[in-house]
Symmetry: C2
Subunit: 460 residues, 2 copies
């Protein structure tokens, strides 16, 4: 029995125990954006550190940051072999609207070979999978085929605000030949995908301020600007009727898709009907001149994620609210710069400011877009490892989501980033009833174990 067969047997024998541990980990409500969950963030980090210790990793540390802690570990005894830095995040999104969950977001439950919990797919389930790969390799042969460093952060869902600095401060300790991340999705059920590009992120909050207090619409209505009207005008000004973003200069830095890329997109298995079924929308709608796959992964967007102002309770309240606001995020593509995009948004808002109100802009998350060559040997090796477990050709794709830290790894550590994800796009991440297919957890354990063997002879 070679090591991979032993490892396979180890996963089979320990499956029940591993799932119990995964449930314990998912039960910790590690919502990074809500300050009341700060203690839970520490609990989740400590839990993860303990798992790494038990797996046999060395120098396991829960390292404080000005925000949530970073968990690090290493095993560096594969002399002459390359080093892999495994990245993931143990923080999760908020759970609103809570009433739409079938079971509680932090009481994990397995139904139909899927585990339901906030973070099960994005990204605690996949982080857990990596820890178990290390455990299996170390517990069966007492060693790893490559050197491994681990960095799990707690601020991915809020823009990795302190990780850039952390990586810069620990550049030597984190030095690596490749960064391995499992926070993307398969191309579809049973269809592996290696992701070679990600969108970046820039976020702002707009607050439109009118009167100093809510006003009676019968007394003042008609004589003062309504902040909701002003906000609607502003939000409406961001797109034209064809879905194209109207902010001046927004597309200036977008690297055009190459003919080869557009051909690759066109070849990918895709059904408009599946997306409609999945989302429940009656028709798709996006920037004219691009396919759905291009729109959602290779084109930038400006989305209003939340809007609020005035009365939203039952019935009616004839009020002119004192203020109204909106939360906005842009998904960015190479070579857009988040700081430049925020500058353009501010300029647009200033130029389109409606009369009779003040407008304030606050800045949120920022992350640079990322792209890496499709034909890199470490990426091609990932594709081969997938194919040992999945009965389908690996797709090489861009993804529409953002992992802001990817471009930091690229820039500070100078290492290629390989994204091997095991989620599915239908797993309701960031939404009620998030879940993770255990079939892909099981296969993922074996794919990643294989990948460490597959790249052990890699030289830069």
């Amino acid at each position: 029995m070679d090591q991979l067969q032993q490892v396979d047997q180890y996963f089979t024998n320990h499956r029940e125990k591993h799932l119990e541990e995964m449930k314990e980990f998912l039960a910790i409500p590690s919502i990074s954006s809500l300050s009341e969950h700060k203690p839970d963030m520490q609990t989740a980090a400590d839990y993860l550190a303990n798992l790494l210790e038990k797996a046999g990793m060395e120098n396991v540390q829960v390292q404080p940051t000005p925000g949530h802690p970073v968990v690090t570990a290493e095993w560096l005894h594969a002399e002459g072999r390359p080093t892999v830095l495994v990245y993931g995040h143990y923080d999760v999104q908020p759970v609103d609207p809570i009433e739409l969950w079938d079971t509680e977001p932090f009481k994990p439950e397995i139904r139909d070979n899927k585990i339901y919990a906030r973070g099960s797919s994005d990204d605690k389930g996949q982080v857990f999978m990596h820890v178990k790969v290390l455990e299996a390799l170390l517990q069966t042969e007492g060693k790893l085929p490559v050197n491994v460093k681990v960095i799990f952060e707690g601020e991915e869902e809020i823009g990795s605000v302190h990780l850039d600095q952390f990586i810069a401060d620990h550049k030597e300790e984190l030095a690596t030949d490749v960064v391995l991340i499992s926070d993307t999705a398969l191309y579809g059920p049973g269809k592996p995908a290696v992701c070679y590009a990600l969108r970046g992120l820039a976020g702002i909050e707009i607050t439109v301020k009118g009167s100093k207090r809510d006003l009676h619409s019968g007394v003042y209505g008609g004589g003062v600007q309504n902040p909701i009207h002003a906000l609607a005008d502003l939000l409406s000004s961001f797109h034209d009727e064809h879905g194209t973003i109207s902010v001046e200069g927004f597309y200036d830095s977008v690297r055009p898709l190459t003919d080869e890329e557009r051909a690759t997109y066109a070849e990918l298995d895709f059904s408009e009907e599946d997306i409609k079924e999945e989302t429940g929308v009656k028709e798709l709608f996006g920037e004219e001149g691009f396919s759905y796959l291009e729109q959602t992964s290779a084109r930038p967007t400006l989305e209003v994620n939340g809007v609020f102002g005035g009365f939203s309770g039952e019935g009616i309240k004839t009020v002119l609210p004192a203020q109204a606001g909106a939360k906005i995020t842009c998904r960015l593509v190479p070579d857009q710069d988040p700081d430049e995009i925020v500058r353009l948004l501010r300029k647009h808002i200033e130029a389109n400011k409606p009369a009779g109100v003040d407008v304030e802009v606050a800045e949120f998350d920022k992350g640079k877009p990322f792209i890496t060559p499709m034909d890199h040997p470490l990426i091609q090796a990932a594709g081969r490892s997938y194919e040992t477990q999945y009965d389908a050709k690996t797709a090489y794709v861009r993804e529409g989501g953002s992992i802001p830290i990817v471009s930091t790894f690229d820039e500070i550590l100078g290492a290629p980033v390989v994204m091997m994800g095991f989620a599915l796009s239908t797993e309701n991440i960031h939404a009620p009833n998030e879940h993770f297919h255990l079939e892909n957890f099981d296969k993922g354990l074996r794919v990643v174990s294989d990948y460490f063997h597959e790249i052990k002879d890699y030289k830069k």
Copy 2:
């Protein structure tokens, strides 16, 4: 000592007791729009009935409706004298945003000769004042100078949904020579005003529906319509940049202001600076071509009272919400018809429906606008009664608010409506820290008592 002097003395002697009772009445959270306050509506109605009984009114009844109860009473022993129907409402607006109240909305507190509580000014404080006028007249001389009927409803803030039917069903019992209402404002501190016209109301709620669940903006962003974008486009389409309503046909039935009316408006004491100071806005904004006073009382409006959709918590959530919505009310002027206006709004929404979403429209409150001749003897008498207590000329004005039931009184009972209000426009009605100046409560008691004497010889 004539009766009015005795009455004056009665008010002075009982002031402390009356204020304690007013506090008890205001402490009942009679919010008509929120179903959890249904029992409080009954409590408030019963409390009011008890006050009327104790005042010496006869045939006091708390009459059920399919919504909240109507309180009625009468005293009909002034043979050969006219009959006055006193109308008011004991329901109040919701209290959001509760955190902006300095003291609790349902724990009335007197500070600086003002009573602070939800409903103190609109309209429970003024309803209470009328009951005390009846009490004082009946307790001092044992009779009233005119016949009086009373009708206090519990649904004014939700559009008097069941009162039209109630009045139609009780047309005979409610027959009257004049309807007297105190639910409007003085022209300013120390400046009496009789109101001869009111705006009507039509309300809708728009719900824009996209996907069947909230979607991740990284995965789907760019490929499906965002309901918030669609809603912003719709809301933005309701006005042009000059504040004019863009809904086709909206102004068609508006009765133009006469030259005399515009001249009266121009003569009224008015300061733009006062409005800015009062509201905190830096500049006024309204329909081009009309003065502020015209805009807020003689011109129709379309105001978004609330907007909601997606994530509004702390931080950011990169979500495409499944739906977004807005609550809208229009203030209408003679001769606009609320049903016709809602039809025009529906048509506008249909014609401007953005791609990729469904739009649903629900209908709310409706109330017809009202106008009555300025030179009617019952209106002129009201002006004279004010002048017995206030050291200023009475202004004859239109008001921008809506009392939907006024046109019903006009239509079903065929009686002129006289609006003698004692509120001030600065009393934060429908907003946090609502209050009522007790100086106007004290004067109001005497003005209304005088008015009953003033009109006792009136013949149709």
